[in-house]
Structure formats: C-alpha cells, structure tokens
Amino acid sequence: MARELTYRDALREALREEMYRDERVFLMGEDIGAYGGSYAVTRGFLQEFGPERVRDTPIAELGIVGLGIGAAIGGLRPVVELMTINFSLLAMDQIVNHLAKIYYMFNGQFTAPVVVRTVEGFGQLAATHSQFFENYFAYVPGLRVVAPAVPKDAKGFLKAAIRGNDPVIFIEHSLIYRNRGEVPDGEDFLLPLEGAEVRREGRDVTIVSWLRGYYLALGAAEELAREGIECEVIDLRVLRPLDIETIVRSVQKTNRLVIVEEGWKSFGVGAEIAASVQERAIDYLDAPIARVASVEVPMPYARNLERLVVPNKDKVIEAVREVLYQRTLVPVAR
C-alpha cells in the first residue's frame, strides 16, 4: 500500500517515526522548535517531543555540526539542520575535517552517524541565499550525499540515514516541498543510500539530474515526446557514492547525454558525471555531452535576471536538440 504525500510531509513522517522508534534520535538546529522550522518541516515537533529532543540552537553552524558529531560519538543519533546550504560553509570545517574523517582516521574504532539536513534553492533571495553547493560535499570521501527529488525517496532516505552508521549530508530543495508523490506505507520503509533511478524510459537521449533539475528534465521529456523524441530520465538521487553505472548503461542505449544541474557548470557535479561517462563509455557517445547549468554569476535579485541564471525546461529542451543535432538557433544565456 502507498499514500500520496508531499515532499515536506514525507520528511516529517520520516523524522517522527524515527523519533518514536529510537529515543536516541534528536533534532538540533536554528529555529526548528518554537518557530517551527524555516521550511515548516518540524512544525509542531517541539510540542510533541519536548525541548530535549527538538533543540533550538544559537546561530552557530559550526557549533551545531560539531555538537552533533560529539553527540553521535557519545551514542546519540543526531539529525542536525542547517537552515540553508548557504550557511553550511560556516560548518565546513566540522563537516569536512572532522565528520567525514572520524571513522577512517581513527581506524574504524568509532563513527559519527550525524545526519545533516540542509536546503538549497532560490527565489529572489539574491547572491548569498541562492546557492547550490552539493559539489562541495560530494567531493569528500567519508560523506554520503543524498538529494532526493520525490517524496518516496525523501522518506526512505531520511529514515535510512538516521539508522545508518555513516555521516549523511541530506540536501533538500526549497521549491519542491509541496510536490506530491506516492510513498509506501510501513514504518520500516527504508531505501539504501545509493543508486540512481531511471524514472522514464526512452531511446533517444539520456537526461540525468536531481532535485528540482529532475522535474525540469521530466517536463522537457514530456514536451519532446509530443514530437516523437523519447528521453530517458534518470534521477540521480545520491551524489556520493555516485552510481555512474546506471548512467553509463542508459547512455549505452541512447548514445546521448544531457546533464541538468542548478549549480554552476565549472567544477560541478555535472563535470564529474561527464568525465566519468567519457571514461567508461566514450565509444557509445554519438554527440558531445551537453550540460545545462546556472550562468556563472552570483545570483541577481531582479526576477528577470534570476530567471536567466537558472536552468529551466526550455534550456533542457534546447540541450536535447543540441545532442540530437537538431539545434534551433534560439539564443540561450550562458
């Protein structure tokens, strides 16, 4: 059985169920309690679980993650929230220099199973509040980096992340919290924290993306299907460990690849995917890999400028035409 849930409610369910299941699970972050969470994921939790388990913190990102690490070593299961990914930079030392390394550096003696939930997105918030930093985390061995696009994954991943023994960076997207989807019933619905998923089959071109980019890919695929172009759409879901195999298998079928990401193109996740695909499947490529990404400027505030920066469905369609050598000469801001 399954029910339809929003992405937000899927996250809420995962957190609630795990908190009921295991007393050691607690939440910590800025304004997650009295305020109800910046994106309302934890609304009502303070009343339900009390201040020991739903901890409003000072605005101290490094401290929040560092306390999470210590708490995890000390036997708890912390889920820490960084209000948005933009502020994760202040916690980068704890995440990269400590969290990611504790298990290896101390020779497997102990681990720090912290789940760091954070959110990316945009919406006329200007340069410091509209950034996509998943590549910063995906770069680091020792971390698992998940980026669920659909409610089912949001729930299954979050529960698995809480129960697992590795540190997990759990990236959400502010513009998909209201998206709906089927979520299987059952308190033990868990998804392994790895593996991309082919969500739409197609023979002509592979589009790989994640988070909001996945929905752009899907929209583009549906539109292109009306003119007979069949796109295979892969939701990457997990950035580390990277499931390159699923992408390669798809490219071997379609011989064409479009990567859609909201981050900047240079040095991003898409760059990694493109390089890995050419390492493994260059002979199968009938066209250069196309990448749709944000224009490389700090995000402007003005609505029209912001729209020019981020990927949209039309840019994805344009990229598909490009790899199919059907490119119409519509000017695209790059």
Binding site: R55, G74, P78, N165, E194, V238
Partner: protein, 337 residues
C-alpha cells in the same frame, strides 16, 4: 611542611602508589617524547611531531582526577594524554612509526591518537575544532543521564577561534558537563599569547559565558589534580561546564620543524631550571619521604626500558596492509560504482 604519615603528602588524598604512578607517568611521557624526537631525527618518524615536554604535569594531574567513564578529546599535542591514560607506549610509538600495530593502525599518526575503549575520542589537528565535539559529548552524557564529563584539552591559541566561543556558549546555555582545560603554554606556534589574544588570561574568557573558571599552576601536578577533581565534581553535579587554565610551558619547538626564532634560549632555560614539573614533583616526594631516591630511580629505569621496548616494538611491527587502504572509509557497505 612535613608529612604526618610516611608515604603521604599533607592535604592530598592520594596513596603512595598513586603518587608514584603519577611520577612514573610524567617520566614516561618525558622519556617517550625525547626518544620520539631522536627517532624523528633518524627519519623513523615523519610528519608533524608536536612534543609535550615540559607540560607533563597537566596531562597526568588531569587524567588522574578523571573517572574512567569520562570522555576525553584533545588537540594534536596528544601523546602525553594517551600515555597518562595508560595506553600502551608500544602502540603509541608504533603509531608514530606509522605501523599496523599503532593505536589507530597507522592511519592517524602523531596528531590523531585515539582509543575508544578508554573513551579517548581522539586528537584533532584543526585548532579549536575539537571543542564543539567535546560539547556534543557532554550533550550525549546529559541526554543519556550518564554523569560522564567530557574533558576537552586545547591550547591558548584555540581561545581566539570562533569554534571556541561557539562551544563555550553551547555548553553554558545547555548546562553541559564539559570541562574546558586550556593549556596555556605561552605560545601558539611562534606567536606569543600577547600577540594573539586581547585578553592575556585565558580563564577570563569564560566569564563571557558565565562559566566558572580558574587558573592553576600547570607545572604542579598535584595542583592540576586538585583543581580538575573539583571542576569535574562541579560538572558532574549538573552545574554545567567548568573552565581551567593551566599555566605551562613547552621546552621544545612547536613541532620538530620549528626553528624557534621567536623566543630566547634563556627563557626556555629559566623554565627548565625553575619550573620543571618532574623535578618539582620529585623533590616533593623526596622531601615528604613519600619515596626514596632508590624507589624513584627504579621507576626511572623501568620507564627507560619500557620506552626502549616501545621503539623495538614499533621498529619490528609491520606496516599497514595495503589491502586495507580503503577500509573504514564508510561504515555501511557500498555497492554502486
């Protein structure tokens, strides 16, 4: 001052065997490090090697005061704490040699000693980075009603870093059982305290967070013991954190790579001659007839042999198995490629 009972120090609730063990550990740390420096010069030990020589009383006094259940996290100058905890000097030396038999199997080296069985959760090499982690351990202890105190060891240099302030604020705000033990050895690398810190007494910084704090003579092992004991009791009784500043001095450079251009030989000599923690403690033990010259000499001799044995062990131990290179990157299995 004279002792009333042989084998005891007035006003000190430690037995003779405990006092002699403290002496032995201080000598062990000293000798272990002197030999480590020699082995470094011989190229047997590489990387950064931060020696603790001169500061032995802090580790030994503090650890003696701790409960075996308490948590410990330290900075990278961690050999003294490991030895004071009773960790096998052979495994400590083997870690410096990068051998499979080392404390952490050769994965961490000098700066990352750890032993989970002793609740020693590691030496951390990023200045101040361990402080929020210590606060988190205090949080876990309180959450689980364990009465375990998390002890954090760090230098004066760490007190100027944001992580320090975040950790103190969290610990005070949530009344976490955390003992912040600052070793003020007067320098952060080559930068004297006065050049780095607007406030020269580290313990005064705790007042910004309403954390009780005091200064102690870090060259006096019994003074460190006493204040730590009291501080731990404070933390254990759900009063929240405590802050100790131990005034101490390192005789050697910041690390083996340090040319020591920032301080005079005379200054170092002065501390060595007048404030050496081992000499001071030795004199106290003798003058109060807690021990005889012969007893102490026998301990010195035993330490000498233990350290020589540690080197032999490290030398003869195998290097880590290359097949284990990627082991422990993740705790749960990964199947995708």
């Amino acid at each position: 001052m004279t002792s009333t009972v042989d084998g005891q120090l007035p006003g000190v609730a430690l037995t003779k065997s405990e006092l002699l063990e403290m002496y032995r550990l201080m000598v062990l740390i000293r000798r272990f490090e002197e030999v480590a420096a020699e082995q470094y010069a011989l190229g047997k030990i590489a990387g950064f090697l931060h020696l603790y020589i001169g500061e032995e009383a802090v580790a030994v006094g503090a650890i003696r005061a701790m409960d075996p259940e308490d948590h410990l996290v330290t900075h990278y100058r961690d050999h003294g704490y490991a030895l004071a905890l009773g960790l096998d000097p052979r495994r400590c030396m083997a870690e410096l040699f990068g051998k499979a038999t080392g404390l952490v199997g050769g994965r961490g080296g000098s700066m990352h000693f750890a032993d989970a069985s002793k609740h020693f959760w590691g030496g951390y090499a990023i200045v101040a980075g361990l402080l929020p982690i210590a606060a988190g351990l205090g949080l876990a202890s309180k959450y689980l009603n364990q009465r375990r105190v998390a002890v954090a060891i760090f230098g004066d240099g760490a007190t100027n870093n944001g992580a320090f302030h975040e950790a103190l604020n969290f610990a005070a705000l949530w009344k976490l059982p955390v003992l912040f033990l600052c070793e003020n050895n007067q320098y952060g690398m080559g930068t004297a305290v006065a050049h780095a810190s607007a406030v020269r007494e580290m313990y005064r910084k705790a007042c910004a967070y309403d954390i009780p704090a005091e200064q102690v003579d870090g060259q006096d092992v019994l003074a460190v013991y006493e204040v730590t004991k009291r501080a731990l009791e404070h933390c254990r009784s759900e009063n929240g954190p405590y802050f100790i500043e131990a005034l101490t001095y390192r005789y050697r450079g910041h690390s083996m790579a340090d040319p020591e251009t920032y301080r005079s030989k005379e200054e170092v000599e002065e501390w060595r001659r007048q404030r050496d923690p081992i000499v001071l403690f030795r004199q106290k033990l003798l003058s109060h007839t807690v021990a005889t010259e012969e007893e102490l000499a026998a301990l010195d001799q035993a330490v000498e042999e233990a350290v020589a044995e540690a080197v032999r062990f490290a030398e003869e131990s195998p290097e880590p198995d290359p097949a284990t290179l990627t082991q422990y990157a993740y705790a749960d299995p990964i199947t995708v490629r």
